[in-house]
Subunit: 381 residues, 2 copies
């Protein structure tokens, strides 16, 4: 058999063809009017995706770079902060904060368990000196989405700012920065923004910007004041990732044309179909608060999870993801993110079914695909 490759992992994601070919065009210089025009279109367009009137800064880095920028620009050595760790990416906030010498109060959650604004309010009472709360919108390691709106309601009543890693969620699930009162929002290019990795985005509220005035942590490449100054000159302080920004312009046009509301619906329907599919063959979700970005599914009893993922990837060419950290071998994850459509979900489900069958798991072959198709039939307008 000819093995074709299908990407259904939570980043990188499939890229719209129009944006793909942009990277093959002759490169242009970045200190030119033409690039400045493109750059500003992206900077302005991102405000729509962020739901903000504040500046959105464009960094040539992974999403983690923008997470680090948030820490380095807002805080000073020994500052107290709260991090919410409900999975691999929530854990990363703690790792960064500790690496930068902060005094970290880490809330460690069971992966996939809910955490509410009221619970956060309790923590804020416990640590009244906390200057910042670091949270995650979409925790792809457990397939969860947290209630960021309620977190913002909790931090709003305190001096702490709410810093949200929305890397995998922004554009796929709602997180309107200004409306909800998020203070720092961080995004990455290779998720719902539908281009390759290499760009990160960050925006700061007035409350967050004030913290930058007192922050004494060292910074140069990620110094957001430099980015603010450069943005006024329609450029970046250091060489921008030119082709990625050009590609981002293309997918932003696509996103604006479709509209965020429709995109959220699209992701919801794909997620519903995925969840219905896996449940129909007797599988369980890890998360009690499943989001619309990626579905984390427990590997059933008697099935070798590592072998399952390997078969789906290597034999069938379908790049689902496995479990991370202590869930390695115990989960598989199907993403419904970026430029994916209904038939990518059907592809993922059928590949998983064939691999489960290969391991002798008992189920009705085709049932997951059938369940997904029923969702599409009902929802596809």
């Amino acid at each position: 058999m000819i093995k074709k490759t299908y990407l259904v992992s939570p980043g990188p994601v499939p890229i719209p063809e129009d944006a793909l070919v942009e990277a093959a065009r002759p490169i242009i210089h970045h200190r030119t009017d033409i690039f400045s025009g493109i750059f500003m279109e992206v900077a302005e367009g991102m405000k729509y995706v962020f739901g903000t009137k504040r500046d959105v800064f464009i960094l040539a880095s992974s999403g983690t770079g923008a997470m680090e920028a948030a820490v380095a620009n807002l805080l000073s050595p020994g500052d107290e902060v709260i991090t919410i760790n409900g999975g691999k990416f929530g854990e990363r906030w703690g790792e960064i904060a500790r690496a930068w010498g902060l005094n970290v109060h880490e809330i460690v959650l069971e992966w996939g368990q809910p955490f509410t604004g009221e619970q956060l309010a309790e923590e804020l009472k416990k640590y009244p000196k906390a200057k910042a709360v670091f949270a995650t919108l979409s925790e792809t390691s457990s397939g969860s989405v947290y209630d960021i709106k309620s977190f913002a309601q909790a931090t709003a009543k305190t001096d702490a700012v709410l810093v949200v890693d929305a890397i995998s969620g922004l554009g796929a699930t709602p997180c309107p920065m200004d409306e909800w009162g998020v203070d720092v929002l961080v995004a990455g290019s290779q998720k719902a923004l539908m281009i390759p990795p290499g760009l990160a985005y960050i925006a700061l509220s007035e409350k967050a910007w004030k913290l930058t005035e007192t922050s004494t942590l060292p910074k140069y490449y990620f110094d957001l004041k430099a980015y603010k100054k450069s943005l006024g000159k329609k450029t970046t302080p250091y060489t921008p990732a030119i082709t990625l920004i050009i590609q981002q312009k293309k997918t932003l046009e696509f996103i604006k044309k479709i509209g965020l509301e429709t995109l959220f619906e699209h992701h919801r329907i794909l997620a519903d179909a995925t969840r219905s599919g896996v449940k129909a063959i007797g599988l369980e979700l890890l998360s009690k608060i499943p989001g619309n970005i990626a579905t984390a599914v427990k590997v059933p009893e008697g099935v070798d999870g590592a072998a399952l993922v390997k078969t789906v990837q290597k034999k069938y060419g379908v790049y689902i993801a496995g479990g991370q950290s202590h869930y390695k071998g115990k989960l598989f994850r199907i993403a419904h993110l970026g430029y994916m459509g209904a038939f990518d979900i059907i592809t993922a489900l059928s590949a998983v079914e064939m691999a489960l069958d290969e391991q002798g798991y008992k189920f009705e072959m085709g049932a997951s695909v059938k369940a997904a198709m029923e969702v599409f039939r009902r929802e596809w307008k």
Copy 2:
């Protein structure tokens, strides 16, 4: 919903990514050593696909251009010929032959009905002056593959040459020119050769080449003697389709690496899965001699075939094909051709199922996908 486009039509077909990007490289000049090297690699490589030691000429034209070249190079006004018309492409042989003033004996078959070498032998007895028999390897309009080997056995005993349109079949289903004794074999680039349309290929046996000596039909662009002369100089008489030839080099490497035998198996398995799938939801094939290139399925009673194809294409973005000529609205066709994999078939079947369901056709949702998956599970090594 974001609608992605999937191509499961019998040409053009999906193109391997490595070959796609070749077209985006800076164009090179064709009267250069570097192009001559690429050109000769394609000309030599095509011998492997044709199963011949004869020259394979590369034309900048559609497959139909090479069909016309066969007629114009072999025959003279008023020559008697036999054409086998079992579908839209067999019919085309008759149209071309009549346009060129030949005396055409057309064997008109029901679409999808078999026609054997013995039957052809009978026709040859009836028309002993026939100089050529024009046949079709893979008739995509009806999803049939004819027994070319038996046709060649029939013509071998006569003065007639056997000219075979293998445009959609070559590379997907066996047709070894020298071994079977085919006199003229015609192929096109956009089918199992997996690149965009624009190139046609033609090779002539010794017996066919002799006919070119006496042919008086007018020709210039398609004069194969000019191509033969140029091939000796590692080039073409007129400007070649440079980027297509470069892309063809890339997919020929892919084809040679996989090997024709494996490719034939791949197409057989995809075709088996498609046939099992449609039968599982109560549908019938049109052809009694179904091939492994495209499956033509009868639209069931009570279903509007034109609307069905339109829904699958426009709503679900899955480009299956409809019926042609008098089967317009009465067939849909799923191809399993070129750079397609198992999940392209599953995509096509699930889109067809959803569209059938939309029209109230009664069947067990998911059954076609299940049947296809069972074939893949059994056959996928």
